[in-house]
């Protein structure tokens, strides 16, 4: 399932939100091997969003190292981090993933616009987008529909197709099923797992729902890898 090459590594990471002395996060050690699927469980306020921001490079650690595909995020400029994110990471959020006014095709191809290397891995972007949609169980004609007209379940599948296109080395899914009903959750996860395995993607899914655990290679509790620092005044 996975080889030993780390795709993601965090070492002695400490971060404090600027202007907010009361909240900080420290992650002594955390990593993902290539091709591994990991479920990160944590309650609200456990620092999941901060951890994802650190991995995606929208914020940088005060100390320690965050390495994605062998590149130390802190060694990149802000602009380079944005491009690096586009090249290396596919993202799926809980909801409101898509530009509602754009069609499905434009939404799926959007990350390629900012990631030339990822784009170069896709020979025919439009055909690839259509194929991903079909593989994720979306109707063929959905490609030209406005994203805002789709059901929430369909929108999450389009977000999954967007994360998968161009085979980024890491996909981060932030509670992608929490806005779906139970039946749709199962269908979505089944299709998504099949596709992420087909593409050999390393997957980090964040959730508070432990029932999903059996589908992953590894389950990690947020409280085991990270410490939230709160100062009371």
């Amino acid at each position: 399932m996975s080889d030993e090459t780390p795709i993601l590594e965090l070492e002695d990471v400490r971060y404090r939100w600027p202007g907010r002395t009361s909240f900080g996060l420290s992650v002594p050690a955390f990593g993902l091997k290539s091709g591994e699927t990991v479920l990160l469980l944590g309650e609200s306020g456990s620092g999941k969003s901060t951890l994802l921001s650190l991995i995606c490079g929208t914020v940088t650690a005060n100390s320690g190292r965050v390495t994605v595909s062998g590149t130390d995020i802190a060694s990149l400029s802000a602009g380079q981090r944005d491009r690096f994110r586009a090249e290396q990471i596919g993202l799926i959020f809980q909801q409101f993933n898509l530009l509602p006014y754009a069609n499905v095709l434009d939404n799926i191809l959007l990350p390629l616009r900012f990631a030339p290397e990822r784009r170069s891995r896709v020979n025919a972007p439009q055909d690839e987008a259509i194929k991903l949609c079909q593989d994720l169980g979306l109707p063929r004609d959905v490609i030209n529909a406005r994203a805002g007209t789709l059901s929430v379940g369909q929108q999450q599948r389009v977000a999954a197709a967007r994360a998968l296109i161009g085979q980024p080395s890491l996909i981060i899914a932030d509670e992608p099923t929490s806005s779906l009903d139970a039946a749709t959750q199962i269908t979505f996860l089944d299709l998504f797992f099949v596709q992420s395995r087909v593409h050999g993607t390393t997957l980090l899914m964040v959730s508070h729902d432990a029932r999903l655990a059996e589908q992953f290679d590894r389950v990690v509790q947020m409280s085991d890898i990270a410490k939230v620092e709160r100062e009371t005044s």
Binding site: S49, L52, S53, C56, T58, V59, A78, G79, D82, R83, R85, A86, E87, L91, F93, F96, N97, L98, L99, P100, Y101, A102, N103, D106, L109, L110, P111, R113, F114, A115, G148, R162
Partner: protein
């Protein structure tokens, strides 16, 4: 793709964006409309008289001479004696000369005595001649030809009698020598429309019983007696002169200005019109300033619309950021949207302008004698449109910079 997304984003907010575009379109149409009226008025003004090389009158100022001789505004300080007039007429450079005699009025309109040559020589709007709409030009001593506005305002028709008043705003009338309307001129958009034209001899005829500006009491010479008289004018108010060759204009002008026997002034109508326009031009500048302010107001309105949409669009910006867009892409996207809105508004405004011009052109021409040409946009107008779009891009930088800072702070996670 980014352009398509920007367009899609605008379409998604069709109502507010539509209102903003409409405001920009109307302001652009107003601005260009004012520009059209201004250039039309300027051209119309410059076209009030053409084909005349010199206007000669008693020495005063060039603008004053132009005002009373062409625009019938104000009065001459002095007259041009008949001897001087004949001296000028006899000069070898002079091709033609038309005298005019002003001083009397009919209701609110000025009466002008002249020769029939006036109808051949007076040109306007790049060489256009006066046309008689009804009737004919004067053939009898007591015939008059009236301008289109005179006929329209006073409801005159051919053969209607009219009585000329002595001087301006006077209660004394030349009621013992009534005139007959022999012709009505086509509308020209020039002061001729507001003029009652009689022959030079008729001006003498109605003043037969007058001495030193007052009527000799109890004396009333019969019309048939007047017809038999030698009606030689002693003086005229001014004269329009055409020279044989254009190069001779300045020489003739100088010699008239240095005329020893009488202090005279000869002006080139084009130059005097330019001087006059500079005075009128202050209103022109004010008009442009006001319409420019309307455009600026519309752009500020657009800025407010973008500002108010920022909060609801933070999720959209976060998606862009998550997909790898730098904050400056967000900034560029908002500037692009503003430029798109303004470009659409500018094109729409241009369409409004031409539709408006097609509708009002005949109305303005008949009401004010102002001809608004429907030409393709001039280079200046294209520059105006491009400047408005550039201005909108600059104005949109204010909310765009705010969006830049927001997206930098939000990253890809928005907690609203």
């Amino acid at each position: 793709m980014i352009l398509r997304l920007a367009f899609g984003s605008l379409m998604a907010r069709a109502l507010t964006v539509g209102m903003t575009i409409l405001a920009i379109a109307l302001s652009v149409a107003l601005f260009l409309g004012v520009e059209k009226v201004r250039t039309g008025a300027k051209a119309s003004f410059a076209d009030t008289i053409s084909g005349t090389d010199l206007i000669v009158g008693a020495r005063s100022g060039s603008v004053q001479l132009l005002l009373y001789s062409v625009f019938r505004i104000g009065n001459a300080t002095n007259n041009l004696t008949w001897e001087s007039y004949q001296d000028i007429a006899a000069r070898p450079e002079v091709d033609w000369i038309v005298p005019i005699s002003l001083g009397d009025s009919h209701h609110q309109f000025r009466v002008m005595g002249t020769t029939t040559a006036f109808f051949d020589r007076y040109k306007y709007r790049s060489g256009q001649s006066l046309e008689v709409r009804d009737g004919a030009i004067m053939s009898d001593l007591f015939d008059t030809v009236i301008g289109a506005d005179v006929a329209a305002t006073l409801g005159y028709e051919i053969n209607d009698p009219i009585v000329v008043a002595h001087g301006l705003a006077s209660f004394t009338e030349h009621d013992d020598q009534p005139f007959r309307v022999s012709g009505i001129l086509e509308k020209t958009g020039t002061p001729v429309d507001r003029t009652v034209i009689v022959s030079l001899k008729a001006i003498e005829a109605i003043h037969v019983d007058w001495k030193s500006g007052a009527k000799t009491s109890g004396k009333s010479t019969a019309a048939h007696v007047i017809r038999e008289m030698e009606l030689q004018p002693q003086a005229v108010t001014a004269a329009f002169v055409g020279v044989k060759g254009r190069l001779q204009v300045f020489g003739l002008q100088r010699s008239i200005n240095e005329y020893k026997q009488e202090p005279l002034l000869a002006v080139l109508p084009g130059v005097a019109l330019q001087e006059l326009w500079q005075i009128v031009g202050i209103a022109e500048t004010a008009l442009i300033a006001v319409s420019g302010m309307v455009v600026i107001t519309a752009l500020i309105g657009m800025m407010a619309t973008i500002f108010s949409s920022l909060n609801e669009r933070r999720r959209e910006m976060a998606i862009f950021r998550a997909m790898g867009a730098r904050p400056r892409v967000i900034l560029g996207l908002l500037v692009l949207e503003a430029s798109l809105m303004t470009a659409i508004g500018a094109i729409l405004g241009l369409m409004f302008l031409y539709i408006g011009l097609f509708i009002v052109q005949p109305l303005v021409d008949s009401a004010f004698g102002l001809w608004l040409p429907i030409d393709p946009p001039t280079l200046r107008e294209v520059w105006v449109l491009l400047s408005v779009i550039a201005a909108s891009a600059i104005v949109s930088l204010v909310p765009a910079l705010r969006a830049y800072r927001l997206s930098l702070a939000d990253g890809m996670m928005v907690k609203i």
